[in-house]
C-alpha cells in the first residue's frame, strides 16, 4: 500500500481531493476483506441450512410414513424419505472416512485422486478451448464481414449437444488420432468435449472485450502511429481481460461438466464421472456413496470457479471490474 503523509501541507486542491479519495479507497479495501469472510460464513451456514432442511424433510416424511400413502407429489416432484432414497446426512459424510471393499484407501482419498484425473481432462480441454476461442474472437474482431457471417454459426454450434457424441469421439480417437507425435489417450478425447464447451463463451466475450476500448483510446494509439500488434498488445487485450474472465468463470465450470459427462458416456476410467456412474449402479447397496461422490463433483466445480476468480483478482487487479455475463 502506498504511503501517504496526510499531515503534509499542500496547496494543490487536486492533491487534497485525492487524499480524501485515498482514504475512502482504503476503507473500501477493508470492507472487501470483511465481505469475503462474511460470504464464507454464509456459505457454510447455507450448507448447514440445506442439510437441516434435508434432515427435517426426511424426519417429517418418516413420521407420516410416506411409503404407506399414495401422495401425488411424493415420488414425483418430491422424493420419498426412506434411507434408500435419502440416506441420512451423517452417513453421507461418514462415507468419506470409510474404506470401500477391496480398497486400502479411505473414500475421500479415492475421490480426491479421481477429481484430480477429471481436473486434468478439464484443464487440458479448457486451455485448448481458450486458445481457439481467443483466435476466433481476434479473427471476428479484425474482419467485420466475418463477424456478421460466422457469429451466428458460433452461436448455433452450442445447440449441438456434442456431449452426447462423446462415445463416438473416444472410439474414433483411438483409431484415428495417430497423427500426433504423442500416443492418443482416451482422456484426451474427453478433453475435446471440454474444449467444445469452453471456446464458445471465450469467443463471444473475448470479441466483446476486444471491441470494448473507447474511441479516444483507439485514436490515441493511432496518433502514436502504433501498428496492429502494438494496439492489440497494449490496448485491446488488456481491455478485454474483465470480459474474458467473466467468460472463463463460465467456461471453467462448463469444462468440468464436459469432463464428467464425457467420462460417463465415453466409458473412460479413473475420474469422478466414472465414479458417479459406478455408484449409481450400486445404488441399492450404498446410496450414501453416490451422494458422497456427487458432493465431490460439486466441490470440484466450486473449486475451479474460485481458482478463476482468484486469478482474476491478481491479473485484473486495480482495473474497474465491470460485471459482464
Amino acid at each position: 500500500m502506498p504511503k501517504i503523509d496526510t499531515m503534509a501541507e499542500t496547496d494543490d486542491p487536486l492533491v487534497r481531493e485525492h487524499r480524501l479519495k485515498q482514504q475512502a479507497a482504503h476503507e473500501e479495501r477493508r470492507d472487501a476483506v470483511v465481505r469475503i469472510v462474511r460470504q464464507t460464513v454464509t456459505f457454510v451456514l447455507f450448507m448447514a441450512l440445506l442439510a437441516g432442511l434435508y434432515t427435517g424433510y426426511k424426519a417429517f416424511g418418516q413420521a407420516i410414513d410416506d411409503r404407506q400413502h399414495e401422495w401425488a407429489v411424493v415420488g414425483s416432484v418430491l422424493p420419498r424419505t426412506d434411507d434408500l432414497n435419502m440416506p441420512p446426512v451423517s452417513e453421507i459424510f461418514g462415507q468419506f472416512g470409510e474404506t470401500p471393499g477391496g480398497r486400502d484407501q479411505i473414500y475421500v482419498k479415492i475421490l480426491f485422486d479421481e477429481a484430480l484425473f477429471t481436473l486434468r481432462e478439464a484443464f487440458a480441454g479448457f486451455m485448448v478451448g481458450l486458445v481457439i476461442g481467443m483466435a476466433i474472437a481476434l479473427a471476428l474482431a479484425q474482419w467485420r464481414r466475418l463477424e456478421q457471417g460466422l457469429l451466428p454459426y458460433v452461436i448455433a454450434s452450442q445447440t449441438i449437444p456434442l456431449i452426447a457424441i462423446a462415445p463416438i469421439i473416444v472410439i474414433w480417437g483411438r483409431k484415428n488420432f495417430d497423427v500426433f507425435p504423442w500416443e492418443w489417450q482416451d482422456w484426451m478425447s474427453v478433453s475435446i468435449i471440454a474444449t467444445y464447451l469452453t471456446f464458445f463463451p471465450v469467443a463471444v466475450n473475448g470479441l466483446r472485450g476486444l471491441q470494448s476500448p473507447r474511441p479516444e483510446n483507439q485514436e490515441l494509439m493511432e496518433s502514436y502511429a502504433a501498428n496492429w500488434l502494438q494496439t492489440l498488445w497494449r490496448l485491446r487485450l488488456p481491455a478485454s481481460l474483465p470480459y474474458l474472465f467473466a467468460a472463463l468463470k463460465i467456461a471453467a465450470t462448463a469444462s468440468i461438466v464436459g469432463a464428467i459427462v464425457g467420462e460417463i458416456s465415453a466409458g473412460v476410467e479413473g475420474g469422478l464421472g466414472r465414479r458417479i456412474l459406478r455408484e449409481a449402479f450400486n445404488y441399492t447397496t450404498g446410496p450414501d456413496r453416490l451422494f458422497a461422490s456427487v458432493l465431490g463433483a460439486a466441490v470440484l466445480g466450486i473449486f475451479v470457479f474460485l481458482v478463476v476468480t482468484g486469478v482474476e483478482r491478481v491479473v485484473v487487479g486495480n482495473q474497474n471490474r465491470e460485471s459482464t455475463t
Partner: protein, 259 residues
Amino acid sequence: MNTLKGFSAPIVTGVVLFGLWEGVLTLLNPQGFVLPAPSEIVGALIDNWDEVYQGARITGFVVGSGLIAGIILGILAALLVTRFRTANETITPLAVAVNAIPIIALAPIFNNWFGLTSPRSNQAIVVALVFFPIFINTTRGLTQVDRSQIELMESYAASRSRITREVRIPNAMPFFFTALKLATSLAVIAAIVAEYFGGRQDALGPMITQSAGLTRYDEAWAAVLAGTAIGAVLYFAVIVLERVAMPWHSLIRAQEGET
C-alpha cells in the same frame, strides 16, 4: 434492403461452410468417420423420420416444461430476494458459487427419486440448470438500477411496487433475456444428457447413444440435428419475445449499429 444485407453474410458463410464439409468428405471419403456428410445426415433423417420425430417430441416436452418451470422459479426467487437487501447481498454470491456445481451429476440421484423411466428426473435436471442463470441475471437486473431513476420515482412519492414495475423490471429485461438465450441451449443439452442416464428410451438422448453404439453415425447425427432444431426454435422464440417485450432495446441497438 437492409435486412437482406444483414442476412446475406450468414447465408454466404453457411453455403461455404456446408459446401466445404460436403466436398471434403466426398473427396476424401474416410471410412467410419464420426462426421458424415450433410447429405448423409439429411438422408438418415428422412429414412428415420418417424422415430426422430417421436424422440424430438418427447425431448422437446422435457425441454419446454423444464424451461418454463425453471424460468418461473428463477424470476420468483429473484423478485423475492431483491425485496430484502441483506438476503440479496448474501444469497446472490452464494447462487453464483452454487451455479458452478455440475448439476448434471445429480442425474443418478434424481433417477432414483423420481423413477428410472420417468421423464420427471430429466425435467428436474433441466429446471435446476435453467434456474440459476435466470435467477442470478434477473437479480442483477433488478438491483443494478440507475440511482437517479429511483430517486425520481421517490420524488413522485411512488410506492415500492410501483418503482419495481416502472423502473426495476424494465431495467432487468435485457439481463433476463441474456440469461434466457443461454438457458435455451443449456436446456437442450441438459435434457439430452439427462436422458442418457434414464427416462423414456424413445427420447433423443438414448437414440443418439444407441445409434452411435451401432456405429450408425448418420442416424446419431440425425437425432443430434433434431436436438439442434429444438434449440434453434427456442432461441428464435426468445428473440421474437425479446423484440415484443423490449421494443426500445432493439431500437437502441439498431442506432448503435448505424454509427
